[in-house]
């Protein structure tokens, strides 16, 4: 005798609420578990996203072109010429949002009181802004006006360390390709702030043309930074540029910053592990609840069997019951998760541990990021593993012998 689905569902639904306390407690547990899965994942995604975005702004760009030996030995001798025709074709194509060629060499900066080792960046301000430099980060003065600007923009922390300020002069020393010391005086025209203190201390922006003249390198640069559309998929852009820039090293940020790309990869694995662990903690309660529900109804199940219900129908009924419980818990958990994440969209202030976050490469605001694939994954984990876990109690229930079950008290 096959029972119609509607009747079966009604039976399961009523059974579920026969002991409403037990069901409510289990529902709360599932909801809490699902909430934790989604909420925690959103926080971690937010942190990693933030780290990656910061990393890309710092790099900058999704793909960079260097001379082969530059990354191992970032000296001005390992430079590359301005992009040729083949490269320009890719750089001006639609897959590129912005690009800029820059000089980046180790240098020393001196004020009248102090010296510091720095990274001297010879940039084209227009390109730098397009690559993601935020003009709001300039806290005093202004950003460079063009590649021929004779001023420098230094970080807030560096200005403090050098005991200097806007409008003062500093001397920057580096070496030219012949290893002669090249130095030049600059006026500080702007001071910038950065999320990561380390940037404030070590990055100095100067006009590209000025730096090229100072280092006597003609039109050569250290790197070409290229911004694509999606940081998640820089491979195509890197491959196209690689074809166009034969003889040079073309790498995406995934390779340029192994810490970040590993972080992103590890995070995917971690999200899944976290969800499964939470589910396992839930599963004991789930099995227990179902076991108890069945145990109380042994006689009833015996009667149904005696009346001709197949064991498969018993399994089916209990699975439907479990499915209803899981679905309700999921609904509650999802609503709870979304309604706690949305109010936090504007960020959670974790500046108490700002320096610790900086060490990990993250900023002191945490923005939860709700990704639908993660929500889907959480729901899938609960439903699939939940049904699998329910199979055992359901199967056991179907194995009672009608006569013995009826005789049970």
């Amino acid at each position: 005798m096959a029972m119609p689905v509607a009747a079966m569902s009604r039976l399961a639904w009523r059974n579920l609420w026969r002991n409403y306390r037990r069901t409510v407690i289990m529902l709360l547990a599932i909801a809490l578990g699902v909430w934790a899965m989604i909420f925690m994942t959103a926080l971690m995604r937010g942190m990693v996203d933030d780290m990656v975005q910061q990393g890309i702004v710092a790099l900058p760009g999704h793909v960079q072109v260097h001379a082969e030996a530059y990354r191992d030995d970032p000296s001005i001798t390992h430079s590359l010429p301005a992009p040729g025709k083949a490269m320009l074709e890719v750089l001006e194509s639609r897959q590129v949002i912005a690009w800029s060629s820059r000089i980046k060499v180790p240098a020393m900066i001196s004020s009248e009181y102090e010296n510091r080792g720095i990274s001297l960046l010879g940039i084209d301000p227009e390109g730098e802004l397009a690559l993601g430099f935020d003009p709001d980060d300039i806290v005093a003065g202004q950003f460079l006006t063009d590649a021929g600007d004779g001023g420098v923009v230094i970080g807030r922390k560096l200005a403090e360390r050098l005991e200097t300020r806007l409008g003062k002069r500093v001397v920057v020393m580096s070496q030219d390709p012949g290893n002669t010391i090249a130095d030049r005086g600059f006026r500080i025209v702007g001071i910038f702030k950065a999320e990561l203190e380390n940037r404030e201390e070590t990055i100095v922006y100067a006009g590209r043309d000025v730096v090229q003249a100072m280092l006597r390198v003609g039109n050569d640069v250290s790197e070409i930074a290229v911004l694509g559309h999606d940081y998640r998929t820089p491979e195509k852009l890197a491959a196209d540029l690689g074809d166009a820039a034969a003889g040079f090293e073309v790498l995406s940020w995934l390779e340029l910053d192994p810490y970040l790309s590993t972080m992103m990869k590890v995070m995917d694995g971690f999200v899944l592990v976290w969800m499964v662990v939470i589910f396992l903690a839930l599963s004991f309660g789930l099995v227990n609840t179902l076991m108890m529900a069945i145990f109380e109804r042994v006689r009833e199940i015996g009667l149904m069997r005696a009346l001709g219900m197949r064991p498969s129908a018993i399994v089916y009924e209990i699975l439907v019951e479990s499915l209803m419980l899981l679905a309700l818990g999921l609904l509650l958990g999802n609503v709870l998760a979304v309604s706690t994440i949305i109010p936090l969209k504007s960020g959670i202030d974790v500046s108490v541990v700002a320096e610790g976050m900086e060490m990990m490469g993250a900023s002191s605001m945490l923005y939860p990021v709700l990704q639908w694939p993660d929500v889907l994954l959480a729901n899938a984990v609960v439903i699939v593993l939940g049904i699998l876990t329910s199979l055992l109690p359901a199967w056991r229930a179907s194995q009672y012998r009608p006569v013995e079950a009826l005789a049970r008290n």
Partner: protein, 419 residues
């Protein structure tokens, strides 16, 4: 009036009753206990892993270079200006050394210079160190892979990191020139012979650390007898608090000196640990609450299904308080089973990895960022073993309060009629 003996035997009876009660539903009890065991094992493992990795982070960072405690001029930690110096740094270091024979004490001075070889120039920091004492506070002298560490306090010699040597394209025996300014703003320059190259494994230090003898440093940078830092390390970590206390007394008379411990020296490290610990506890809390729900459900069911039984007992004159205690005692026993098995299993798992080391794919890259080896050895100790399981235990007892309290509302006559 009940005598003590009667009370004892009453408790013994309750205990026996509780023990028997929890085994009336074997499967349910085991499932509930297993939920506790699961979370306990996980907590023991995770907490010992965390503590193990924190130990390693702190140790590698402090032992490699900074030392456990530093004496500096007030403000130097933040501003690192050359003139924020400690006058007579060598004498002060000697004083501290004679007061704490068990500790290693070494004076240092810092300056930023442009360091040039024949082919390359880099802006970097050079540190003036006392060759005789530096090895006590830093592992760098022992990590010199090529050549030797500094010996003569006045020699024009320099020891640099492997990455810096590669970048400067120099080997042991080559010469480096430096260019910077002295404490008084004067021009400071000189020629140094590379006598040693170290490989610390920390890319930061290998790239940016250069050490010269303190005596030479003081001459070259017009420092007189002064320096910037006195680094102090002791073998036993427990003695740090005492050490700090006495240090403060020693330097109290001096010109605005402070003693900084590792938390002040490396605030990033401390906060990274805090952030990690907090986020981890958020996860643990969820796990623990889920287990508590499981216990709540079990105990509530076990109370509800015994309504009739409890009705009879109450009709016989037993107070609800005794029954509530019985339910709590049952939970206590169940939680104890979960605790004991969980801690034992957890200790085995954590102990195994403590011996074999624990690593996951991708850890190389992540560990490098924090100066850590790419294998973590969980630290198994009383704290890592008991902290998590104890919290689980307490929460499980809390979970039993609601079912226990429900008993107070029980009316014997109605209860006996209940299904």
């Amino acid at each position: 009036m009940t005598t003590k003996r009667q009370r004892d035997s009453a408790f013994g009876l309750s205990l026996r009753l509780a023990w028997r009660n929890i085994w009336r539903q074997k499967r349910r009890t085991w499932l509930t206990a297993l939920a506790m065991v699961f979370s306990n094992v996980l907590l023991v493992f995770m907490i010992s892993l965390q503590l193990g990795s924190y130990d390693m982070m702190i140790n590698t960072t402090l032992r490699m270079f900074s030392g456990q405690v530093q004496v500096q001029r007030v403000g130097y930690q933040d501003e690192q200006k050359m003139r924020q110096d400690i006058a007579g740094v060598g004498e002060l270091a000697s004083t501290i050394r004679s007061r704490f024979p068990a500790a290693s004490v070494a004076a240092r001075a810092n300056a930023f210079v442009l360091l040039s070889s024949e082919d390359r120039s880099f802006g970097t920091q050079v540190v003036g160190v006392e060759p005789d004492f530096e090895a006590g506070v830093s592992t760098i002298p022992g990590l010199v892979a090529d050549g030797r560490f500094l010996q003569d306090p006045g020699a024009a010699e320099i020891v640099i990191g492997g990455v810096m040597a590669r970048n400067l394209k120099v080997a042991v025996g080559d010469e480096l020139t430096f260019l910077g300014s002295g404490k008084d703003g004067s021009f400071a320059a000189g020629v140094l012979t590379v006598v040693g190259i170290f490989n610390s494994g920390s890319s930061d230090l290998d790239r940016s650390l250069a050490e010269v003898p303190l005596g030479y440093f003081q001459d070259a940078f017009a420092m007189g007898g002064s320096g910037h830092i006195i680094a102090i390390s002791t073998a036993e970590l427990g003695g740090i608090a005492d050490l700090m206390e006495s240090l403060r007394a020693i330097i109290a008379g001096g010109d605005e000196l402070v003693a900084l411990d590792w938390e002040a020296l490396t605030p990033g490290l401390k906060q990274a640990i805090q952030a990690d610990f907090t986020s981890a506890w958020f996860m643990y809390a969820v796990l623990i609450i889920l287990v508590a729900f499981s216990v709540l459900n079990t105990q509530l069911m076990s109370v509800l299904e015994r309504t009739r039984e409890f009705g009879v007992i109450m009709a016989l004159g037993i107070k609800p308080r005794r029954l509530a205690l019985l339910v709590l005692l049952e939970t206590f026993l169940m939680a104890l089973i979960g605790l004991v098995i969980g801690v034992l299993l957890g200790a085995v798992v954590a102990g195994y990895f403590g011996f074999a080391g624990f690593a996951y794919p991708g850890m190389d890259e992540l560990a490098a960022k924090f100066n850590m080896p790419s294998v973590i050895y969980p630290s198994v100790g009383p704290v890592s073993l008991m902290l998590g399981p104890t919290v689980v235990f307490i929460f499980c007892l809390f979970a039993a309060i609601y079912p226990a309290v429900k008993l107070y509302g029980l009316k014997p006559v109605e209860a006996m009629r209940a299904v």
